[in-house]
């Protein structure tokens, strides 16, 4: 059957890709191969998804540790490796990464301040019609309660590489959540400062904040708000979710009085929650909205259709922003 115009299908993000395209479709795999060349303490591990680090394996075969489909074991083994002076990067499918191994991560990695990196590919709804077992929309809620873990959610390929590079030498745990199939947001990734949110544009009417897929949506919606409604938005890249940029958040919220968060995550516990907590603690009177996934059983389908269904689109963000401003 040929594809009808406008018909949406699953995108294959699983197969091997050549090095040329890795930078855009598998930036986390690309980055670790580059980093591995600079630091021989770096080892990689992956549970049944070694293709995601195929380049690293080809270049440093002795530094790839296959542990099979055993994520919990992988995290504890990584903790042992880190205590022996190595820098392990574990690649996992997001639902079987932070979600499945939360306790191993907390007890073996986080409590002990060990430099293990967990890279969660296929986050959010990326595995679409495979079913809800394959969704990861609660991972940030879990990860950001870990009090020694740096939590990152890059918004595009260039920022993925930049964030992985800038955190490579952190002497503590890092969780990196990868959004699949996101387009380019940056021509050149910003120089990330630890715990700070780069600002993509400035405006006094509304604050738009996104991470992962939400960053591109927020940026595109801000553009349209300006073009069609003359609404000017502050737009922040919330790639750092722990620690996060409370200072920029509160300053902008105080200025605009309207905050809209955009994320491929549950409305519970993610960016929307952390903004609400900070705004509440800060005593600000702000109109707040969340473009995120509802706290209920989610539908199953092709990701692109699911994003439309749940309003995780530029139009969805635009609509939500307009309503927030006119309420």
């Amino acid at each position: 059957m040929s594809e009808q115009p406008g018909e949406k299908k699953m995108v294959d993000v699983f197969s091997d890709v050549d090095r040329e395209t890795a930078m855009t479709v598998n930036p986390a795999g690309f980055a670790v191969a580059e980093l591995g060349a600079e630091d021989e303490r770096i080892v990689t591990m992956a549970a049944d998804m070694s293709n995601t680090v195929a380049d690293f394996i080809a270049r440093f075969p002795g530094r790839y540790i296959e542990l099979g489909i055993a994520e919990t074991n992988s995290v504890s083994v990584a903790a042992g490796l880190a205590s022996a002076g190595l820098l392990p990067y574990i690649y996992s499918m997001s639902p079987f990464g932070m979600l499945k191994t939360a306790e191993q991560w907390r007890t073996d990695v986080d409590y002990n301040h060990l430099p293990v990196r967990l890279v969660g590919r296929l986050s959010g709804l990326a595995m679409g019609y495979f079913g809800t077992s394959h969704y990861a929309v609660e991972d940030i809620a879990i990860a950001r309660t870990m009090n020694n873990t740096t939590v990152l959610s890059p918004g595009d390929p260039a920022s993925t590489v930049s964030l992985m590079r800038s955190t490579a030498h952190l002497d503590g745990p890092v969780y990196i959540r990868i959004a699949e199939g996101v387009g380019k947001v940056y021509d050149q990734a910003p120089e990330y400062v630890y715990g700070k949110w780069p600002k993509l544009r400035s405006g006094g009417d509304i604050t738009l904040i996104g991470h992962g897929m939400g960053l591109g949506l927020a940026a595109a919606a801000a553009e349209l708000l300006f073009e069609h409604d003359s609404i000017e938005a502050d737009v922040f890249d919330a790639a750092y979710l722990r620690p996060y940029d409370e200072e920029s958040l509160l300053a902008s919220a105080r200025k605009t009085g309207h905050v809209l968060t955009v994320e491929e995550h549950s409305v519970v516990g993610g960016l929307g929650s952390l903004c609400a907590e900070a705004i509440g603690r800060g005593g600000l009177s702000v109109r707040m909205g969340q473009v995120a996934l509802p706290d209920q059983d989610l539908e199953v389908g092709v990701p692109a259709e699911l994003y439309e269904y749940y309003g995780l689109t530029t139009a969805g963000v635009l609509d939500h922003a307009r309503k927030l401003l006119n309420r």
Binding site: I65, A70, N73, S76, V77, A79, G80, A84, T107, D108
Partner: protein, 295 residues
Amino acid sequence: MPDDTLTLDRGRPVTDAELNRRADWIRLQTIDLIAQAGLGHYSSTFSCAEIVAALYYRALRLRPGEPRWADRDRFLLGKGHVATGLWPVLADLGFYPRDWLKQFGKVGSPLNDHPNMKLAPGIDFSSGSLGHNLSVGTGMALGARLTGRNYRTFVLTGDGELQEGQVWEAAMAASHYKLGNLVAIVDANGFSGAGPTSQAINIEPLGKRFESFGWTVREIDGNDVPTVRSTLDELPDPSSEEPIVIIARTRKGHGVEFMEKQPQAWHLGLLNAEQYADVVAEITARMDLLEGSRP
């Protein structure tokens, strides 16, 4: 504090009588620490006292003045709830001042019921959540291979702990990577917190299970000092290619008659004054006898 570079080597000279006395000393220290804290794990600490004594006073290569020395042998207390028996040993060897024991169980103390590697020198890895440490030890043993070091990694697990599925993930990985530098010691005292281990979920036959996972198996009486010592003395070289498991058949509460009779009752508890005196009398009498039998 000892000289930073003083190395306690593998196979240090010590008599079996001394190791027996040391195991009983661990028991006496344990009841004092528990009395101080108000609650503690007696019988599961007692079941492995001979093993801990033989490891720390003979088998392990250590450098107390440099606890993070890269070539030290590692010891992971998978059954973290028996750390009470380890604290006096580490103090005695000079990892930290004996004074620290006085803070045991108090807010801010580096020494607690379960060990924390961030707080206590000499603790190679934190524990408390059963089932994790064999995986962590696998990582350390693999780390030794990757960094070209010949240290051994020992992991002491309980037998109830083997009901955790992650243990078997680690068992698979350790034999896959041919980690002959990894030694698991199962303190097979037959009891978990709530009752006989294999009545809950049968874990036997342990030897065959480990063997089928590609491990070298030694099954011994874990409270018999000469056997424990010689088993540790005769471990295959760390460069060998099969991980080793010592299934130490032990008695929960070993060394205190009424605890051995009711091991479950003394998994977690607190001796009253009369019981405390009885335990001290029983253990001291035995130690005196051992003193008399010294060469």
